[in-house]
Amino acid sequence: MPKKITVMSNHSERSDKYIDIYRENIERISFSSSPYINSFREKAIAEFIKLGIPAKNNESYRYTNLDPFFKHEFKNYFMPGKQDFIRAEKFRCDVTDLDAHGIVLLNGFYPTINDKIRQLPGGVWIGSLNEASKIFDSHIEKHYGKYVNGNSDGLVHLNTALASGGVFIYVPAGAVLKKPVQIINLVESDEDIFNQHRNLVIVEKNADITLIICDHTLSPQKFLTNAVTEIYVGENSHFDIIRVQNEHNNAAKITHTFIHQEQNSHASSNNITLHGGLVRNSTHHYLGGEGAECFSYGLYLADKFQHVDNFVNVNHAYPNCTSNQLFKGVLDDMSTGVFNGRIYVNKGAQGTSAYQKNNNILLTDDAKMYTKPQLEIYADDVKCSHGATVGQLDNNALFYLQSRGISKHEARLMLMYGFAHEVIQNIRVEPLRERMDNLVMQRLKGELSRCASCMVKCG
């Protein structure tokens, strides 16, 4: 498409603020982190200076404007106070009916009031990344910063430079955790905040774990989150991550998830966006060993002026790997959906099977969908396909339901629910799957999708 290349004049200006924050607060930022983690910061900020905050001329942010959030003056960028944690601890999320090992985070930070790190059955550890540095320093040195390496998104490097806390999970070889680990990430503050946290998950070989991350906003302030999660999945291991996003319209959530897989491992990622002002999830799957298999799912339900952007990159680096992407969206009112999916098959990655599907339903003329499914293939013995659709509910199906006595309104809901369920059905944890189905139904009905026992109206 012939299109002018223009250089954003405010490019550096937008980024300068964050460079200043780094320079002025570097001591505070590095105070509780280990020297190893701190050793990444200078290089990361230099990289950020080079790349800046992604603007519209950045191909992978072509349809997402970050300005309203990054130009905003936030009041706070760092660790919340002790009192805030006590308040947050009182929160009980409905999904916790799940029998899970729970962690409650506040603005991405691990609470200072509980055990900072604890051991679960099978020798699994969950806790604060800073605390873990003291015990698992060699593990952290082996994995931290490795999987984000070479990424061209300035925000990933900004996170590496500025993040001062997050979660650490260690699953030793052979450990099988029956109950999922659930991280409830609450965002709450009396002031507008920009927070950045950094998580690291290490799953050694022959292990099996499911991780659920629930994001909630509890106060109406303007929030911006820029989170990076690095995940290592060892040989023959099984790892699932499910992200449930339920934030208010004044909140921006930017997540970057890097999943590195060894041979014969299986990993899945499922991003379920129920609510949120601006959501950008980038998920990077690296198939780093023969026979690895990954699934990347996403469901986004947006209305009002919400904006949901899913960026997926599946990198087939070794032969005989399989990948599958399925992203679906229902867009109402003036909302915008974006899907950027890429399958990249390296030279030599023969025997690759890679599939990708993105289906969208627009409910109004003011809703928009931009989809960009991409295939980049440098090996020939491959089976790759992708499909993308933007359309409406199927009129034939609608009539079929009506002809059985179901009202048009109900029929529409059922079809949307069915449409969404194709993503939800891939959740392995049954109670969570049912819970998600319910939340999706409530969301589609226009009822606030906050959890029933939550006292905060996060809609």
């Binding site: 009539f399 002809s403 059985r404 006595g405 179901i406 629910y417 194709e422």
Partner: protein, 255 residues
């Protein structure tokens, strides 16, 4: 029960039905036959309330009410059931959910309480046996991945669940092997009550060996060109439709 009077309808400006008149009384089974493109499926779809054809003229009265004014779901709740020629696949919506919604909507319409989950499942079980449908189908998404025969059986199963007063079966026999055909036909016969009626649309007389019609109509070029008893179906099977076409064209040119 159902009175169609001089019904004319068009799709995208093309007139498909050119004046259909038909009366179905309670307890009767009418067979509607005719070559491809004669308007059989269009008529069925119009009766069920599908908004793709434009009704140009005529009236349809069902149980004393103006049928054409009702939305599709209300017709269903009033007891009209359409067995689709090509049942629709609805990914992600399970059969159980789908039928539970439908049955409870019908009950609500009649002023009844919704069925409890266990009563509903019991009902499902009974009806499944009636039409010899595989239990596993109930756990799958509506028609998704069903074979042609399974889809048709599923239509009859839904009919059993909803207990219609007037069933319109649009080429329910097409694509069925003889065993499936027998099962489908038996299902229809078992569901028959003295006060219920059916319109059976078919190409072939084969189905009519199992479902015995009271009246047979032949539709050609948007008109009912012949109405007689069951023997007409047998005659059609022997002679084909050509003589009907010839007669019809002759009558047309006489006009």
């Amino acid at each position: 029960m159902l009175t169609i009077n001089n019904l004319k309808a068009a799709i995208n400006g093309k007139v498909i039905l050119k004046g259909i008149s038909l009366e179905v009384k309670a307890g009767e089974i009418h067979a509607l036959m005719g070559p491809n493109g004669s308007g059989k499926s269009t008529l069925a779809a119009i009766l069920a309330g599908r908004e793709f054809a434009e009704v140009l003229e005529g009236t349809v009265t069902y149980m004393g009410k103006n049928l054409l004014e009702m939305p599709a779901e209300e017709r269903s709740r009033e007891g009209i059931f359409l067995g689709f020629q090509y049942p629709i696949e609805i990914p992600g919506v399970s059969m159980v959910n789908f039928m539970k919604s439908a049955v409870n909507e019908h009950r609500k319409y009649k002023g009844l309480e919704p069925l409890s989950a266990s009563d509903f499942l019991k009902l499902m079980r009974e009806k499944k046996e009636l039409v010899e449908i595989d239990s596993k189908l109930a756990n799958r998404s509506v028609n998704e991945g069903f074979s042609g025969g399974e889809k048709k059986k599923n239509e009859i199963f839904q009919m059993a669940m909803l207990e219609p007063k007037l069933a319109i079966l649009d080429e329910t026999d097409s694509g069925l092997d003889i065993d499936a055909l027998r099962i489908v036909a038996n299902g229809v016969n078992k569901l028959r009550r003295p006060d219920t009626s059916a319109i059976v649309i078919t190409h072939y007389q084969r189905l009519l060996d199992y479902i015995i019609p009271d009246v047979v109509h032949v539709l050609y070029d948007g008109r009912i060109v012949k109405t007689a008893g069951r023997e007409l179906a047998i005659e059609l099977e022997e002679k084909g439709y050509d003589w009907i076409k010839r007669d019809a064209e002759k009558n047309n040119s006489d006009e």
